[in-house]
């Protein structure tokens, strides 16, 4: 393993420290935590429902890179691929509550769900109103009562953008949670990997793929996918993912939003080529794409790969996705 790091145990605090030092006009660190909170002037001037997210590290710019006016109020970073602890989440909730309550955006992993739940119990004991939405956009995993359910992956960035815009515009906590849930229900993602991520504490890639193989349906923590196949042209990859995702939507009329997300080790060049194929195919299928975005938003350390997210969105959501926002990573 070759990585630009110091001691493995110091990765997260050093990363957060670097992020805060280079963006002190936007965010500040909450003392004794690896959580960051908005530091812009508008934050204290305009009261709104707080929006807090977080999770294991290794997915940067998610979540700390999405803190700012119009998106998240605070973000809590756990260890690499490990949910943050309840006390840190509790501190973040306290730092952003302005009396109107706090919405927690949680990705659907047992660790995150349990830790955010414990933090919620702690905050409620302080009479802070809390609502939670759980993002589970990864359709490569079956949703059944007998499993953990679907995972939360790249669609999380879109959820945070829409909910963040609504919170800025003054929406109350209950409506915000309803909006968030509705966005989640309409957001579907599948990812592929060319090369697995190397967790620093483990020191080698989470799984091995041959020189001509890719894996379909991987998660953002090296979770294996649904099949390993020979790599194909970007055009065929786009076709495979679009087909799988569009099957999930009964109603293909109206507007859609599209996110082409790099996994951390894949250059923009490949992401744009893939985006070109995706948008061409959607157009020829008569799908109306009202918003599209390309970039490394929800990564998996140094994983090489890409994910495609498609959201059925109304005009209001599209305009919320397009609203200008001042964050590090959107």
């Amino acid at each position: 393993m070759k990585k630009i790091i110091n001691n493995v145990e110091d990765i997260v605090p050093e990363m957060i420290s670097g992020l805060v030092k280079t963006n002190s006009d936007l965010v500040k660190q909450i003392e004794d935590t690896t959580a960051v909170v908005r530091n812009d002037k508008k934050f204290s001037e305009n009261k709104q429902v707080g929006v807090v997210s977080g999770g294991g590290s290794g997915h940067e710019p998610l979540h700390a890179g999405f803190v700012g006016d119009g998106m998240l109020s605070a973000a809590v970073a756990g260890e690499v691929f490990t949910s943050p602890t309840p006390d840190q989440i509790y501190e973040a909730i306290n730092a952003v509550d302005q009396g109107l309550g706090v919405l927690l955006i949680v990705k659907n992993y047992s660790g995150d769900v349990m830790n955010f739940d414990m933090a919620k119990e702690m905050a409620e004991a302080d009479d802070i109103k809390i609502a939670t939405i759980v993002v589970d956009d990864d359709i490569s995993v079956k949703n059944s009562e007998f499993t953990q359910g679907k995972r939360g992956v790249a669609g999380t960035a879109l959820v945070e953008k829409i909910v963040g815009a609504a919170a800025r515009s003054g929406m109350n906590l209950d409506d915000l949670a309803k909006l968030g849930q509705s966005v989640i229900d309409n957001t579907k993602t599948i990812g592929i990997a060319l090369h697995a991520a190397t967790v620093p504490a483990v020191g080698h890639p989470g799984f091995e793929l041959k020189d001509d193989e890719i894996e379909y349906g991987i998660g953002i923590h090296n979770e294996r996918g649904y099949s390993v196949e020979k790599i194909q042209h970007a055009k065929e990859l786009a076709h495979e993912l679009i087909e799988k995702i569009m099957k999930e939507f009964d109603d293909k009329s109206g507007k859609f939003a599209v996110l082409i997300n790099g996994m951390g080790g894949t250059p923009l060049m490949e992401q744009y080529i893939f985006a070109n194929n995706v948008l061409d195919e959607l157009q020829s299928d008569g799908i109306d794409v009202g918003f599209s975005k390309v970039g490394n938003l929800v990564t998996s350390l140094d994983m090489q790969g890409i994910s495609l997210t498609i959201m059925k969105a109304d005009d209001d959501w599209i305009s919320k996705l397009k609203e200008p926002v001042t964050t590090i990573g959107w």
Binding site: E79, T82, S110, N115, T147, Q148, V199, A201, G206, G219
Partner: protein, 197 residues
């Protein structure tokens, strides 16, 4: 059967030792069917327990379990932090009642995990170690082979909770990492009880 403070402390300290010694082993198990951090997570918890005991020696068994729970909750994160944390927090509360048997205490821990994790036996989680051991203790036939069997039983299960559940059928053939760390916990307990018998 009940544990005195020094026995209970010995138990947790042996657990801490085993976690530190087997950090990469646990990471490897978790790499196969999870995200590769269970060893690192538990090691962080182990160090936090040691630090907590050093800072303020627990004054009674309830205190000791509470300190263990807090170390787990505040330093581990992931799934295992709240699970072990809830188990020990519930045990800390229960042990305040003078008369509780060790077997019942472990059952209370197992129940805490089930509640927090919304899970039960046969889901290929640490419950598949906690529950058989609580059962064996109630029958008074608790020893290392019980721990081993419980752990081994997770190998052929298909996971339906936790990260391994994403693998569905492919989760078969691997030990559950959380069950392995729980096995260390209960092997440590056998060691403590063995010394006494």
């Amino acid at each position: 059967m009940k544990l005195e403070l020094n026995e209970a402390q010995k138990w947790i300290e042996l657990f801490v030792e085993k976690l530190e010694a087997n950090k990469s082993e646990l990471n490897e198990l978790d790499t196969a069917i999870g995200d590769g951090d269970h060893g690192t997570n538990m090691d962080r918890g182990a160090k936090a327990i040691t630090e907590s005991f050093a800072k303020k020696a627990p004054e009674n068994v309830s205190d000791l379990y509470k300190a263990t729970a807090f170390a787990m909750i505040q330093k581990v994160g992931g799934a295992s932090g709240p699970l072990y944390g809830t188990a020990f927090l519930d045990m800390s509360k229960a042990v305040k009642s003078e008369n509780i048997e060790l077997a019942d205490l472990i059952q209370i821990g197992a129940d805490g995990i089930k509640r927090r994790g919304e899970s039960d036996i046969k889901m290929k989680t640490m419950i598949d170690v906690w529950q058989p051991i609580a059962d064996a203790m109630k029958q008074d036939n608790f020893d290392k082979s019980v721990v081993e069997d419980a752990l081994d039983s997770t190998k052929d299960m298909v996971a339906t909770k936790g990260r391994a559940s994403y693998l569905e059928e492919k989760s078969k053939g691997h030990l559950d990492p959380g069950s392995q760390s729980s096995a260390y916990l209960f092997e440590s307990l056998v060691d403590v009880l063995g010394e006494n018998s």
